[in-house]
């Protein structure tokens, strides 16, 4: 079991972060339509009455959560257990929040490279690398100070 991709979109469907561990099917041109499909699927769901999991293709399901105006989406394998990935997303958001101080979409827009830096300390190779918020924060504040 592993994460195939991490995507962060805003409510209008504009991409904010993308990390692809397993290349999307098709060529580069179809990447864009894959992202559009994901947006369409997720934004059409009822967030009060529907679960945070939805099958996307015959090999991938999406685990997602909306925080204010941003959707955080993980693409995982069908047989994976969904819940743990919600914890991944939440941990990521918690770290972003602590690092930027009450994070909002603009923080991620203007500091996208730092958002990637944080993501890299959390998830690589499609797997979680560190689960302690304090350890991650210490690490990224160290990296952030490096010249």
């Amino acid at each position: 079991m592993s994460i195939k991709f991490v995507i962060c979109l805003n409510k209008q469907g504009v991409l904010r972060l993308i990390r692809v561990f397993e290349p999307f099917p098709g060529d580069a041109a179809s990447n864009q339509s894959t992202i559009a499909q994901i947006y369409k699927l997720i934004s059409s769901r009822d967030h009060k009455h529907q679960s945070n999991f939805v099958e996307f293709s015959d090999s991938t399901k999406l685990v997602y959560r909306r925080y204010a105006g941003l959707y955080f989406v993980l693409g995982v394998e069908l047989q994976d257990e969904e819940l743990i990935y919600l914890s991944h997303i939440h941990l990521f958001v918690e770290v972003l929040d602590a690092f930027f101080g009450n994070v909002c979409e603009l923080d991620i827009v203007f500091n996208f490279h730092k958002a990637y830096m944080i993501l890299d300390e959390l998830i690589i190779g499609g797997e979680i690398q560190e689960t302690s918020k304090d350890v991650i924060l210490e690490r990224i504040s160290y990296l952030d100070r490096l010249n």
Partner: protein
């Protein structure tokens, strides 16, 4: 903490982003992006021209590192903000990006790596700069700065799957970082996941070299030695998970006890409730770290097969009692955690994660009926949760439990929780949850509850307005299938199916269903009349569904005879004429045929029928036109020639022979596996179609033997092996680091069960770690001759001078050649050395001889021996005996052999009558054959011994015994 904005900010980048956000119209944004590209291109272009011709610009380049970083970051932003559409437009920056990658300034290098991580899954990018990237990665991996190494590892962790070249070129370097004891923890973590990404890309690096595979896997497993270093573990577990699933599951079986320890400690640590807030890594807000728990469970799920799976795979019965006990305790504790009140939604999520993953795993542990019941009840209590996710996953988990743990789980739900499910079905607003409820109900159906379940499903279909087309269709097929399979009353069956068809309209595809109904009615004469009457009632209603019209057209046409007393052919003709214009062409064609059948029964309606067909000659549909034309011609021909053409053309329907239910094809798409549906049809007891249980490593049946044959035994293994034949205890094997002692014992009541206790003593100056053991039997499936059962495994680490014990039992089911004895593999790490030992543990038939001497019985006398020897010879002749001559090198052959077989517990006949000959007797025990007496005559010559053995169970057993004796005395 607030992001450090002064230091690493790039003002130009921030301005550019602000500009893009400021442009209200898409065109303005587009213009802004284009002008930025032109400007960056100019900067890079100018620079490229002044640099080297081959594109590697020199260090004297005019562009500063900071500027280069800023421009590359802008390109990365453009790539993201355009939803990755502009890949071809940013390609021009790749050379400069490589340049930036070579920078020694961390923040510059970081931006280069980050940008390439975004672009690298594009083949044209790899083609253009792949070689340069690999070169730079090599340099960075060898760097003395951990920060640089970390960036390179991170890059491989992100892009490892994109380019197979990366695996070939760099996996060794990554492995060096991973295995080195001096690597910083962060580098070990990153390298474990980078290694995993490279392995996913191409695992042949391990699979093609058996020796490297063994060594590397052992190194990787040793990273789990510190069972409290959860932070390292979190990155290493996924790697082990991959190896277990894709590379070599067998090699990972030996870490089951260690994984169980980790799980047990993690779960126990997590539920300490001492009132203090303790946040260590095993623990996440006073709940066991869910990431560790799910990963360990996932690996265990791969390694351990379901109890019912075919022999040759590892199931709960192969796991030692201590480990099994720990795992079962974990399940109990998880239920405790899962049903605890949660502080908030997040904690609830974490608690449920642990609960679901352990309950899903529990079925592998051969749970008791009580354990299953408490799992079911814990889950059902979550069904009322107000949270959609919880309900969804609870149902998912229940479905798995009901299919894997079978009848016990299903019965518990059937007796206590059906109303809850029906309630959920009617109230639930999330269709994905409704689907799960339907799947669960489907799995729970049997003959006793089919009526209530089908009624609930039908009620859902009539009441619920907002349901999707596909879920209605799915329910319809399931209702049809369940009704057919479990109905005990045929009237009820027909009633339900017609009811189902009556509200089909366009809401679901009902073709398979009405066709199946017709097949069943045709094949069951008792249903003909009844169905036709029901159909007439339905057809009398206005706006009836087309499926009913189709079924009616076919069945009433076929069995018009049965209803003609109530409804005449003329009335039927009028009825269908009326429906004709409101149905599809396919249905119309069917009605045309029905009219012919009505005409055949009653030619009085001839003129009306002919008129109708003539009208349809003008139909726009070719099929209808043709059919009408043909039918008209048939009627004409009959009238002209007087031949009863219709009797030949419209013969009564013969019973359908196809056994396969066409509905099966559609159930397949209903997220349930179809593999055992055919058996479901024939076997009423197994009422569920099992969803696939968590995937288990595939072991081919024949692989066990290959595995045994492929073991490479340590040199000198024979010394300990032979010692075990003769002595009940002693040294089994020794290495400079580790000495292994053994002690064998059998109980008088079960001599066929040999207890082996091994003691591992650390005789080195360093601690021994990663001590993992594994036992490989000659065969474990297809009626094996012995079964090895591990009672407990040694601890994974042994301090200097300390010892660890390892206990196992070997049950001899029947005699087998001694060279097929089980193999023990021991791997360990000591003082930085990785060692492995592979030895055979003696599973000899002679080990089951339980010496009579210990019970102080008098031995056998010579006359008794001779008498029995003759008796055996009379009874079995040559079939009961085996003979062999063996060369012995010993100073005094006679006394050497005498002492050897004495130690093997044979009774030696005290005699002086026959010189140079030993007479010995013993009783061997096997589980299947019971006890069997054996007599041996050993004539000792100089450097040679002549052995003859007779047993009450024939010459094969005699041969096996002689094998043991020869092995022990040589």
């Amino acid at each position: 903490m607030v992001a450090n904005s002064s230091h690493n900010s790039m003002k130009g980048l921030q301005l550019f982003i602000a500009d893009l956000r400021g442009s209200l119209h898409a065109e303005d944004r587009e213009k802004r992006i284009m002008s930025e590209m032109v400007s960056i291109r100019k900067q890079f272009g100018a620079n490229n021209n002044t640099g080297n011709i081959n594109g590697h610009s020199s260090s004297t380049a005019s562009l500063s590192g900071y500027q280069r970083k800023k421009y590359i970051a802008k390109l990365a932003y453009i790539f993201i903000v355009t939803n990755t559409t502009r890949i071809s437009d940013v390609m021009f920056g790749l050379d400069q990006c490589c340049e930036l990658m070579a920078s020694v300034v961390y923040s510059e290098k970081f931006i280069a790596y980050m940008t390439l991580e975004l672009l690298y899954n594009n083949p044209s990018v790899i083609q253009q700069i792949g070689d340069r990237v690999v070169q730079q990665l090599k340099i960075d991996l060898a760097s003395t700065s951990d920060n640089m190494v970390s960036l390179a590892l991170n890059f491989l962790g992100v892009t490892g799957k994109c380019d197979s070249n990366l695996t070939r070129e760099l996996i060794h370097e990554v492995f060096q970082v991973l295995r080195s004891p001096t690597s910083a923890q962060i580098l070990k973590k990153k390298s474990a996941l980078a290694f995993l990404a490279l392995l996913r890309n191409d695992s042949s690096i391990l699979t093609q070299d058996a020796r490297r595979k063994q060594l590397w896997i052992q190194r990787i497993m040793s990273l789990l030695d510190d069972t409290t270093n959860y932070r390292l573990m979190i990155s290493v577990l996924p790697l082990i998970e991959y190896i277990a699933r894709e590379v070599d599951g067998q090699a990972c079986v030996k870490i089951i006890p260690q994984l169980s320890d980790i799980l047990f400690n993690c779960i126990s640590a997590g539920i300490k409730d001492d009132g203090t807030d303790h946040y260590d890594d095993s623990n996440y807000n006073n709940i066991p770290n869910p990431w560790i728990v799910t990963k360990v469970i996932s690996i265990l799920n791969i390694l351990i097969s379901s109890p019912s799976s075919s022999a040759g795979e590892i199931t709960f019965s192969n796991i030692d009692q201590g480990t099994l006990g720990k795992l079962r305790t974990c399940v109990t504790k998880a239920i405790e955690i899962g049903t605890r009140p949660a502080v908030d939604v997040l904690m609830r999520t974490v608690q449920n994660t642990i609960l679901f993953s352990l309950i899903n795993f529990a079925s592998k542990l051969d749970p008791s009926a009580d354990a299953i019941v408490s799992s079911v009840n814990a889950l059902c209590s979550l069904l009322t949760s107000s949270e959609t996710n919880t309900r969804y996953l609870t149902l998912d988990c229940l479905i798995k439990l009901c299919s894997v743990s079978g009848k016990n789980a299903r019965d518990e739900v059937r007796t206590h929780h059906m109303d809850q499910l029906f309630h959920l079905l009617l109230m639930e607003r999330d269709t994905s949850i409704v689907r799960k409820v339907v799947d669960l109900l489907y799995a729970l159906t049997d003959a006793s509850n089919v009526q209530s379940i089908v009624n609930a499903l039908l009620k859902y279909m009539t009441d619920s307005k907002q349901t999707h087309h596909h879920i209605r269709s799915d329910i319809a097929v399931k209702v049809a299938f369940l009704t057919e399979n479990f109905a005990t009353d045929s009237r009820w069956y027909v009633g339900v199916l017609l009811n189902l068809l009556s509200f089909s309209n366009a809401s679901f595809n009902s073709n398979d269903i009405w066709q199946r109904l017709c097949q069943i009615v045709v094949n069951n004469e008792s249903l003909h009349q009844l169905t036709c009457e029901y159909l007439l009632d339905y057809l009398a209603k206005p706006n009836i569904s087309e499926a009913i019209v189709k079924a009616g057209a076919f069945l009433l046409g076929e069995y018009v005879e049965l209803v003609i007393t109530q409804t005449s052919c003329g009335e039927l003709f009028n009825l269908f004429t009326e429906k004709y214009f409101s149905v599809s062409n396919l249905c119309r064609a069917m009605i045309l045929t029905t009219m012919m059948k009505l005409y055949k029964r009653d030619s009085q309606i001839g003129s009306a029928v002919i008129k109708f067909f003539q009208l349809e000659l003008n139909s726009l549909d070719v099929e209808l036109q043709t059919r009408s034309y043909e039918y008209l011609k048939i009627i004409q021909l009959e009238k002209v020639s007087g031949a009863r053409l219709m009797d030949v053309l419209f013969q009564p329907m013969v019973p359908f022979t196809g056994k396969r239910n066409p509905l099966l094809n559609r159930l397949g798409s209903a997220a349930l596996s179809t593999s055992n549906l055919t058996s479901t049809l024939s076997n009423e007891n197994s009422s569920s179609t099992a969803p696939t249980p968590p995937p288990t490593r595939k072991v081919k049946q024949s692989s066990q033997n290959v595995l045994y044959e492929n073991q490479r035994l340590s040199t000198d293994w024979k010394d300990g092996f032979r010692r075990m034949l003769k002595h009940k205890q002693g040294v089994f094997y020794s290495t400079p680091f580790l000495k292994i002692f053994y002690r064998l014992s059998v109980s008088p009541s079960h001599p066929e069960l040999l207890e082996v206790a091994l003691t591992y003593v650390n005789i080195s100056d360093w601690p021994i770690t990663s001590l993992l053991t594994e036992l490989i039997s000659y065969k474990t499936d297809n009626d094996p001759s012995y079964i090895v059962n591990v009672i407990n495994v040694p601890t994974t680490s042994i301090s200097v001078g300390e010892r660890a014990t390892h206990k196992l039992e070997i049950l001899t089911r029947r005699g087998s050649p001694i060279d097929q004895s089980p193999i023990l593999n021991v791997n360990f790490k000591c003082g930085g050395n990785v060692s492995s030992v592979s030895l055979k543990i003696t599973a000899a038939i002679t080990s089951t001889i339980y010496s009579a001497r210990s019970e102080e019985k008098s031995g056998v006398s010579l006359s008794q021996f001779v008498q029995r020897w003759r008796a055996l010879g009379d009874a079995l002749g040559k079939d009961g005996e085996f003979h062999r001559t063996a060369v012995i090198v010993a100073q005094d052959t006679l006394s050497h052999i005498k002492s050897s077989i004495d130690k093997m517990s044979f009774d030696i006949v005290e005699q002086t009558t026959v010189e140079n000959t030993i007479f010995a007797a013993g009783i061997v025990h096997t589980k299947i054959g019971g006890s069997s007496g054996c007599l041996m005559k050993l004539r000792c010559l100089e450097n040679e011994v002549d052995l003859t053995c007779k047993t009450t169970q024939g010459s094969y057993l005699a041969e096996l015994i002689i094998q043991c004796v020869c092995e022990a005395t040589i």
